[in-house]
Amino acid sequence: MPLRRLVSLRLPGLLLVLLAAGKGAAAVLPEERADLLYHRYDGGGVKVDGPSVLVRKNLGSSVSLGLNYYVDRVTSASIDVVTTASEYTEKRTEQSVFVDYLREKTTMSLGYTRSEESDFDASTASVGISQDLFGDLTTVSIGFAYGDNDISKNGDDNFHENAKVRSYRVGLSQILTRNLVMSIAYESIIDDGYLNNPYRSVRYRDAGTSLGYAYQPEVYPDTRNSSAIALRGNYFLEQWGSAVNAGVRFYEDNWGIDAITYELGYTFPYAENWIFEASLRRHEQNEADFYSDLFPYQNAQNYLARDKELSNFTSTAFGVGASYEFGRSWSLIDRGSLNFQYDWIYFDYNDFRDLEEGGAVGEEPEYSFSAYVTRIFASFWF
């Protein structure tokens, strides 16, 4: 459920930013394109798949309209689920609309997204503006998103909660040389309301049970303030006709989580129609102040969490991709591409124990798992 809360704001807001960032040039409208994507995630007992369709079309010379339809079909038998509940399936659908208005060197963007599932409804509105400066070497952008989430609980008709999410973003992109462009982004997110997952529990020592421990519901603070700053760069290797990109993000919040994420990628064309890419990603974070894998007794403190996303862990990812371009001579489209991208991610937890493996209470093996993320999609430019 906390995952869905993030989804409710992050996915549409990010897509809006990515659409703007992906335009490939300053002070022009986003590319007119259509994307048909199938996505699949498989890892840790969780399988998620579904389609995503994006259409971006200009209306005249200064307005761009975008529509996105996205579906998650989830089957979950994750470690959290199998130890405290039973496997479940559900479906989340999301519709988004984006509008960009270009006036000279200024682009104004509006977005609205509606996400629905059985126990979580989210609406998010976003607004942004970007301005090209200094001979189009510099692009400055600011943005704001507001999310309103209604949370319910399957099996409990009396459970109704709400959370608001506010996101403030500022970014700067700078051409440094004829082969190097860099950008920096800062984002502050403020959550206010019910931030728990109503299904999740923490465990505490209880000598009176056969397991030696028992469960009680998680209790989170009602507010969360986070800050993230990211620096990225793309460098064109003239000798090889390829590009290398690198990025780093620093994160901290008032729940006590500090995190750092590194990214490195290499993209190279091959022959006339192929583009290949490879990427590495590393994420490290510590745990929230109120996280524990095993509390000493019931109600041990005001706030209680055993959500592994809030624990101390690392993730390491390796990705590859291939793209084949076609249709430059076709009459209906400018061009098209068929794409395959695959990522392997290894999550290694340092204070989240695998209760399925058994062992002395508090000394069970630490949990880890691999996930496989696949995207297959076709893109058309017109």
Binding site: L3, V7, R10, L11, L14, L15, L18, A20, A21, G22, K23, G24, A25, A26, V28, D35, L37, N68, F134, D136, L137, T138, T139, V140, S141, R169, G171, L172, S173, Q174, I175, R178, M182, S183, I184, A185, Y186, E187, S188, I189, S226, A228, I229, A230, F236, N245, V248, Y251, W255, I257, D258, T267, F268, E309, S315, N339, Q341, A371, V373, R375
Partner: protein
């Protein structure tokens, strides 16, 4: 963490310092920057989905990609 933030702030100031001078990369010198492989995000739907995967499974969030990534190529 604080030292890292200071380092990043320094980098951002250096980026901003570049704004105070004459454009030194002329439009006709931006062919490499205009190459699609130099885009911060060539495939927005796919990248958005992958960020969603990470946001859902990690405690950190935000600034997943630097915004306003125009390259000034046109």
């Amino acid at each position: 963490m604080r030292a890292n933030l200071n380092l990043l702030c320094t980098c951002s100031l250096l980026l901003l310092a570049g704004c105070a001078t004459e454009p030194w990369v002329k439009p006709y010198e931006r062919a490499n920057l205009a190459n699609p492989i130099m885009s911060f995000n060539r495939d927005p739907v796919s990248a958005s989905y992958l960020h969603h995967v990470y946001d859902s499974r990690e405690g950190a969030r935000g600034a997943g990609i630097a915004s306003g990534g125009g390259c000034g190529c046109n």
